[in-house]
């Protein structure tokens, strides 16, 4: 049995198991911290979306909450001018190549991006950056779901879920702006070794992977 520690998040005293990841502790206590790439089932956080920053007392710069194990007496703030600035910038970058089509999107109302925008009072449509649409074809070849890479935020949730399901169909390919979640040789899902188990659809925080 792990030792329990007491920490403070936004002035609230919270008890948690020593070493548990701050992000999950906060979420479990109804304190929302924006996050896309964190995964409870993985031991090593990828910390790639850079949205979960929090201010930790005694640390000079904000820290990603998904990488921080809690310790006794930890004092955190989920909001500060610095944190807000980082999150706003990160969010705007993500939105600058996300195809916005909420009206017709199956994730509408249940989208992590909408949630972040709402809780942090951010705009979905970037105002300082141009929106670049990758204009990649939607993969409609699977029978139960479709994949629209233009909506993908590259959080990697589907890739990890796909691996845990044992298929290992999905993975990252290419680099920089061209980075995509795809299959071996960019094969359509319907022709790949995908068994349509649906694990990826379940974890997609946006509408990129959606049931038909």
């Amino acid at each position: 049995m792990a030792e329990t520690v007491t920490l403070t998040i936004d002035g609230r005293q919270i008890h948690a198991a020593q070493g548990e990841i701050l992000l999950w502790v906060a979420l479990d206590n109804d304190i929302y911290i924006p996050h896309l790439c964190a995964d409870r089932e993985e031991e090593h956080p990828t910390a790639s979306c850079r949205l979960c920053f929090v201010e930790v007392e005694g640390r000079p710069a904000p820290v990603p909450a998904c990488t921080l194990p809690v310790t006794e007496g930890l004092v955190v703030k989920t909001r500060s001018p610095q944190v807000d600035g980082l999150v706003a910038a990160g969010f705007e970058l993500i939105m600058s190549n996300h195809r916005l089509d909420c009206k017709n999107c199956s994730a509408n109302g249940n989208c992590e991006l909408q949630r972040i925008a709402k809780t942090r009072k951010l705009r979905l449509k970037p105002k300082n950056l141009p929106v670049l649409d990758k204009n990649l074809p939607v993969d409609d070849s699977a029978t139960t779901f479709a994949y629209d890479p233009n909506k993908c935020v590259l959080c990697g949730q589907c890739i990890r879920a796909c691996r845990r399901s044992g298929n290992g169909t999905l993975g990252f390919a290419r680099r920089g702006y061209l980075r995509v979640v795809t299959t071996f040789g960019d094969m359509p899902l319907g022709e790949s070794n995908c068994t349509e188990c649906g694990a990826c659809v379940k974890v997609c925080p946006v509408g990129a992977l959606a049931k038909k």
């Binding site: 290992g168 169909t169 993975g171 390919a173 290419r174 680099r175 299959t183 071996f184 040789g185």
Partner: protein, 173 residues
């Protein structure tokens, strides 16, 4: 780009042979892929699948590595390898326009090879003759101050050379 059964067989054999000298530690993945490319000139899908099985990773991960680094080719190189300089000077002087003209004239995209395997296209970083920007390398030969019409000219010149060589060969017989 079609790859023949014969080529597939050679690729599989080559890859297996190379793999047999490495253990399955993942750090060996890139060196093996580099050697495959050295031997074959490119890394075909079958080679990636062999490597994936050897290192016990999903094949898509090997594909991810191959597409991440510019040094890897997915298609066999053409007889004439056209390399378009995308260095800063060339970029500023319209390298992307030159890229577009090659793609349009050869009817292939960057990184691909024409169906007859005559030409392949790739992008390279500064080749060191910025004063002649934009620059194109055809095999080892440097061509400076390229314009779309010069692209047409280069292709035409190549075709003429080829025809002459053919006629010359016919006469020798």
């Amino acid at each position: 780009m079609k790859i023949t059964e014969e080529e597939k067989k050679i690729a599989i054999e080559t890859t297996r042979q190379l793999l047999s000298t490495y253990n399955d530690s993942r750090g060996n993945l890139i060196p093996v892929l580099q050697q495959v490319q050295n031997k074959l000139g490119y890394v075909p899908a079958v080679a990636m699948e062999e490597a994936a099985a050897h290192f016990n990773v999903p094949a898509v991960d090997v594909y991810g590595v191959i597409t991440f680094y510019n040094q890897f080719r997915l298609t066999p190189p053409g007889k004439n390898q056209v390399k378009i300089c995308m260095g800063t000077a060339c970029h500023m002087r319209g390298a992307h326009i030159i890229q577009e003209s090659w793609e349009r004239r050869l009817n292939i995209k960057m990184g691909e090879t024409t169906e007859d395997r005559e030409y392949s296209l790739e992008r390279v970083a500064c080749v060191g003759c910025c004063t002649m920007a934009p620059v194109v390398l055809i095999n080892e030969e440097v061509h400076g101050k390229i314009t779309p019409t010069r692209v047409d000219g280069l292709i035409f010149a190549h075709q003429l050379d080829k025809q002459k060589a053919k006629e010359g060969a016919a006469q020798d017989e």
